[in-house]
Every structure is written in C-alpha cells, then in structure tokens.
C-alpha cells in the first residue's frame, strides 16, 4: 500500500529536502476559521498537515495546545466535525497528506471500525495517537494498518536501542521523533543531540524520521532539517492563532493569514536546511 505520505517522501528525496510538517488544532477557535487555516497551509509551504483532534485531558501537551483544545471544544468541535473538516479540505486538495493526531478516548468512543472507515473515506492518510504505545497495538494500530492508514509512532529519548525495534515494528509512513522528554512546546534541546538520535533511529529503520516538540523558529527548523527527513511545528502555529484572538474572543486579525506568514518562514528555513548543512 502506498499512501500520500509515502509518495511525498519519495518526491522530497528526489528534491533532497526535508518535509515541513505542520500541526494545528482542528476547530480552534471555531470550525470555519480552523478550516480556513487548514486550507492555507499547503500554499504557505506545509508538506504534511497534522490535524489535531481536541481532547479534554491532553496529558502530553503543554499549556498552548491544552488551551487550543479547550477553545476548540468550547467552539463545539467533535471528532465527527474534525473528520468533516478533512473531507471539506480534500475537495480542493488531493495531494497534501493529512495525519490526525490526538488521544485515544474520542476514537474509542466513536468506535474504532467506524472511525477508520470514516477517516479513510475523508482522505486521512495516517494517525498519531499519543497514548497508544506498541503494547496496545491491537486496539487501533493493527486495525488502522489493515484499513490502509499509516500508523505513525512516537519515538522518544527514553526509547533505547533495545526497545526501538518494538516501537518501529508496526510503524509506517514516518517515525515521529520527540526531541526531548517533556510536553509539547518545551525548549528545544541541543540540535546535535537530536541529530545523533535521528542517526540512531535510522540505524533501525528505512522509514523517514521527522522531529518535533520544541521547534518554533525558521532557524530551528533549518538546524533540525539538516539531519531529519522532516520538521514538525505545532505549538508555534497554535500560538499564532491564539495571538490574534482578543480578550473578548473576537479575532484581531485573520488567523489563517497569521499562520500562513509563520509557515512561509518555517518553510524557507526547512527548505534551506540541506543547503546550509552542505
């Protein structure tokens, strides 16, 4: 099975540049605004879209993404609406891979089989579910692979060489390397340590390795992109949305434009990564 993700990384290998992976929270601050943000991402230089599924108790997320999830839920977002958002996006874009990212409970309650069917038909390419380690693969990972979706696993600094094969066993699409032990939006560690970790993981798998957690600026994207196959940015994008929401909840500028401006800079950094390192 070849997904949009596989096709993309083949293309980028030819272009000799890393992917820019952009996370945003589905439904933040409301459905329509959020869809306009999603639609603006590819044009601004995003190669892969991570579509956040809001959850009331996001245990691996820092304050920025927690707040984004709360805004989305307050705005009436549900898993069904997040799927609908992907479907609407696909009417105008059939190339950019979409990966849904979040926590297991909303999927479990929606029903695993029903979710996988709806996700596939909505044009979703992969899933990242934070609280499903390989020990729980029977829950969603194996059914997702059978349904033709990539299941993208997180590898972390605590995933040692002994454990890596287990983490990589049912992973497909790409590997998401979490740059540090901590929550989303923390400070980025020394990039040389990240480069070493990417090299270590690549010793175990032929899959592309994307790095996230803590990447906020074009400069950081460039530094990380020198060694990784992709750079994931989330908190900075979510903050760009938060920054244009006034205290009264009214928007002071167009969030889609604010996000696009940020992403254009990040894309420039990512695209020049290999040139800078060459």
């Amino acid at each position: 099975m070849t997904t949009r993700i596989d096709t993309l990384f083949e293309k980028l290998a030819g272009e000799k540049r890393p992917a820019l992976v952009t996370y945003f929270m589905g439904g933040d601050p409301d459905y329509d605004t959020s869809l306009s943000i999603m639609k603006a991402l590819p044009g601004a230089g995003s190669d892969i879209i991570e579509l956040g599924m809001p959850f009331s108790d996001p245990m691996a997320d820092g304050p920025a993404i927690q707040a984004a999830g709360q805004r989305a839920l307050k705005g009436g977002q549900t898993l069904a609406k997040t799927l609908k958002m992907a479907r609407e996006f696909r009417t105008g874009n059939n190339e950019t891979p979409i990966v849904m990212m979040g926590y297991y409970n909303p999927i479990y309650i929606y029903g695993v089989e029903r979710f996988l069917g709806d996700a596939k038909s909505a044009g979703i390419d992969g899933l990242i579910v934070v609280d499903l380690p390989p020990e729980m693969d029977e829950e969603l990972c194996i059914p997702a692979l059978k349904a033709g979706l990539n299941f993208i696993r997180l590898a972390t600094p605590t995933t040692d060489d002994k454990r890596l094969p287990k983490v990589l066993s049912n992973t497909s699409g790409f590997v998401y390397y979490v740059s540090m032990t901590g929550i989303t939006g923390s400070a980025l560690p020394d990039t040389s340590r990240v480069a070493d970790a990417v090299k270590r993981i690549k010793g175990h798998t032929g899959l592309p390795v994307c790095v996230g957690f803590g990447v906020k600026t074009a400069h950081q994207a460039q530094a990380i992109g020198a060694s990784a196959d992709g750079v994931v940015v989330g908190t900075a994008i979510v903050n760009a949305v938060a920054n244009v929401i006034g205290p009264d909840g009214k928007m002071t500028a167009d969030p889609a434009e604010a996000v696009a401006t940020l992403v254009r800079g990040l894309a420039e950094g990512t695209r020049s990564a290999r040139l800078a390192s060459a």
Binding site: M59, A60, I109, L132, E135, L154, T158, T159
Partner: protein, 406 residues
C-alpha cells in the same frame, strides 16, 4: 449457551498485560513506557522479596499503627436494629486515612529503584499529606499537584503538606480538580523521567499501579478477615466501602472476593443526583473509556470528552475509577450503588453523635448505605464497613453546609 462466564477466581487479575478483562492496560505516551516497564520489573521482584515485606510490615506496625482495630459499633447496631456492624478503623492510621498504606509501599519501591524525587497528585489532600509524610520520613524532595479549586476548599491539608516540606503546585488547567492534578503530575513525570518516582494515590493508572496499590491496601482486608474470625468465629455477610478511585474498597474487598456468600457493595458519590451533571458515579452513570493510562468506566460525553464530577467529598471527586472495580462490576461480583451528598452528610452527623467518631465524608457515603441495608438484615448478620478516613479535614466543609461560621 450465553451464560456469563464465572471465572475460577476473582482474585487472579490482572493478566501479564495488566488487563482485568477489557479494563486496565497501559495507555501511556511512549516516553513513559520504559519507566512503567522498569517499575513493573522492580515491583515483580519486590512483591516476592521477604526483605521488602518485612520492611513494609515493620513500618506498618510502628509508623502507621497497624493493625487498625475492627470495632463493633454497638450503639449504631442497636439504633438500626438489624445486622451487627463492624468498622475497620483505618481512620486511626497515622495521617488519618488508609492512604498511608499505599504510600509506604511505594516509597520503599522508589528507594529500591534509586529514584531521588517524588511527585503525586491529590484531590482532598489526604493522599498528598500521606505522600508528603513518607517523603519527609525518607528524606526525599516532594512535589504535590493539586487543583486550584481543591486548594481553596482543603486549606488545612495544603498547610500540612507545606509543613511536611512538600511543594504544593496549584493546577489551574481544566476545572482545577483531581483529574487536572493527575494530568499535570503525568506532564511532570514525562519531563523528569530520570530521577522522578510518580506515587499514584489510588488503584488506577497504567499497569502495574492498579495491582500494586491494591496489594498495599489489601492489608485492610487481610487484617479484617483475621479480626472478624477472632471476634465472631466466622466471615461477614457483607462488606461495604466507598469508592472514588477505589483503593480503600479494593483493599477491603480483595481478600474476600472468592468467599461465596459474602455480599460486597461499593458506594459511589451520587452528588446532587444522577439526573444532572453533578455527581461522580462513574460506574453507575458512566461508560468504559480510556484516561490516565487505563481503560475503565468514565464520566464522559458522547464525543469521548471527560466530564468533571461533583461530590461533597473532594476525595471522591474523580470522573473515573480503578479498572479492577470496572471488571468486578461487569462480572457481577460487586454491586455498586450511589449515595447522594445529603445522605452522606446525615450519616456523618449520625455517627458523630451515636458512636463519638467523626468520619471523613468519603466513608460517610459507605455509612449511608449501611444505614439503608442493616435494618433489613437479620440480627445475626454481620457487616464490615471500611471507615477509611477521619473527618477532621471535613469539619470546615460540613460546618459551612450546616450554617456554622468557623
């Protein structure tokens, strides 16, 4: 053909994957997975190590004051006119509740693992106080996460923790109650993986916590069994305990689960009634879902978003429940019932006046159920109720509800 399968034993769980039927498991971020596997490995070694057992027993005896008495509540029995009522008096433990049983076990494990920093979550503050106590006793720095709302309503326990040298970090995320404190403790753990031991306060969370906490709390049921046989020459007819996360209840129940003929009742916080949103009856009014590392009954909406519970008792104010209770409910071995805030408040006052014991609001829920059931039972029947905490911490809450200015 479709008969429910009765297992050979109700005491055999969890399986090696940490499952009690479909409940339990290890639903955690990859960063935590190696830590949980390390913990499981150390726990497997410790639980059969006589040195560990001896060290824990020594602390239970001389530090906590175990065994706690099994007290025949003569006046209450007379007042209700039915079954003979016994209280397992874990409220007499050092720190005032059953929480210390678990904290001592886990701090010994933290020591074995070479950890140097302790974190915990707390709702009412009882677990926070017990954790701060063992951290002081063993000389560890300790951070306790507590919801900002709970900090406000449990000021005496906050001060107690501070006196004991713990740092109490207020959690403003969400609604500032126990579930948010647990989220924040998990975020701390995922950040400080090298040196930190997460001392979970109830029989919930990822495997091996539910089993481990149950084992540390089962001292309650093991003692109660010996004590009732000494007092009455037989096992009881009924066990009753309050369930929030469910650690005191599983501690009393577990040694009796395979005794046919003993009725076992868990009492949930019915809050202001199950019709509205203001209750914490996850087993009665919730449904299975995944939160905080395990699959269990949860209060949630149709989209799988977790709701905030309500209870008069901060210790029961949690939208989930330990996974073993979910399994015991589905297997039919234990009956779970809700008790409303006002019923618990009445039971609290009755016990205070009739037996001279001020119970915590948590076991007051169990007591309210005993008050309903005892009169319908024969005078030769025996009930054991877990009086798992003392009410000193609740006098401000109760005073306010009864219109006293303290």
């Amino acid at each position: 053909m479709n008969q429910p399968v009765t297992p050979n034993s109700f005491r055999a769980g969890p399986d090696p994957e940490g499952m009690f039927g479909i409940f339990g498991g290890r639903f955690v971020a990859e960063t935590l997975m190696p830590l949980i596997l390390d913990l499981e490995e150390e726990w497997e070694k410790a639980k059969t190590d006589p040195v560990f057992a001896a060290e824990l027993e020594n602390l239970n005896t001389h530090y906590t004051g175990r065994p706690s008495p099994l007290y025949f509540a003569e006046r209450l029995t007379e007042h209700l006119g039915g079954a003979r009522i016994y209280f397992k008096r874990d409220e007499l433990n050092h720190t005032g509740s059953h929480k210390i049983n678990n904290c001592l076990g886990q701090i010994l494990l933290a020591k074995r693992m070479g950890k140097t920093r302790i974190i915990a979550e707390t709702g009412a503050g009882q677990h926070g106080v017990a954790t701060a106590t063992v951290a002081a006793r063993f000389g560890y720095p300790c951070v306790v996460y507590m919801g900002a709302t709970d900090i406000e309503r449990q000021a005496p326990n906050v001060f107690r923790m501070k006196l004991l040298g713990a740092e109490v970090r207020p959690v403003t995320a969400g609604h500032g109650t126990l579930k948010d404190a647990m989220n924040e403790a998990l975020r701390d753990w995922v950040t400080n993986v090298e040196d930190t031991y997460y001392l979970i306060g109830t029989a919930a969370g990822p495997h091996p916590y539910p089993e481990m906490v149950r084992e540390f709390q089962s001292v309650i049921g093991r003692e109660a069994r010996e004590q009732i046989i000494a007092a009455e020459g037989r096992t009881p007819d009924m066990l009753v305990a309050a369930v929030g996360g469910g650690s005191n209840a599983i501690g009393l129940f577990h040694p009796f689960l395979d005794d046919e003929g003993i009725e076992i009742v868990g009492v949930e916080a019915g809050g202001k009634g199950l019709d509205g949103e203001e209750h914490c009856a996850s087993l009665t009014a919730g449904r299975p879902g995944v939160l905080h590392g395990n699959r269990t009954y949860l209060l949630q909406d149709g989209d799988g978003q977790i709701k905030d519970g309500h209870s008069i008792s901060a210790g029961l104010d949690y939208p989930g429940i330990g996974p073993e209770h979910s399994w015991l409910k589905e297997s039919g071995r234990v009956e779970y019932v809700p008790i409303m805030d006002h019923e618990a408040l009445e039971a609290f006052q009755l016990l205070t006046r009739i037996e001279g014991i001020i119970p915590a609001l948590e076991p007051s829920h169990a007591l309210a159920e005993v008050i309903k059931r005892a009169p319908k039972m024969g005078k030769d029947n025996i009930i054991i109720m877990n009086l798992c905490g003392r009410g000193d911490k609740d006098v401000f809450t109760v005073g306010k509800l009864l219109g006293y200015e303290l």
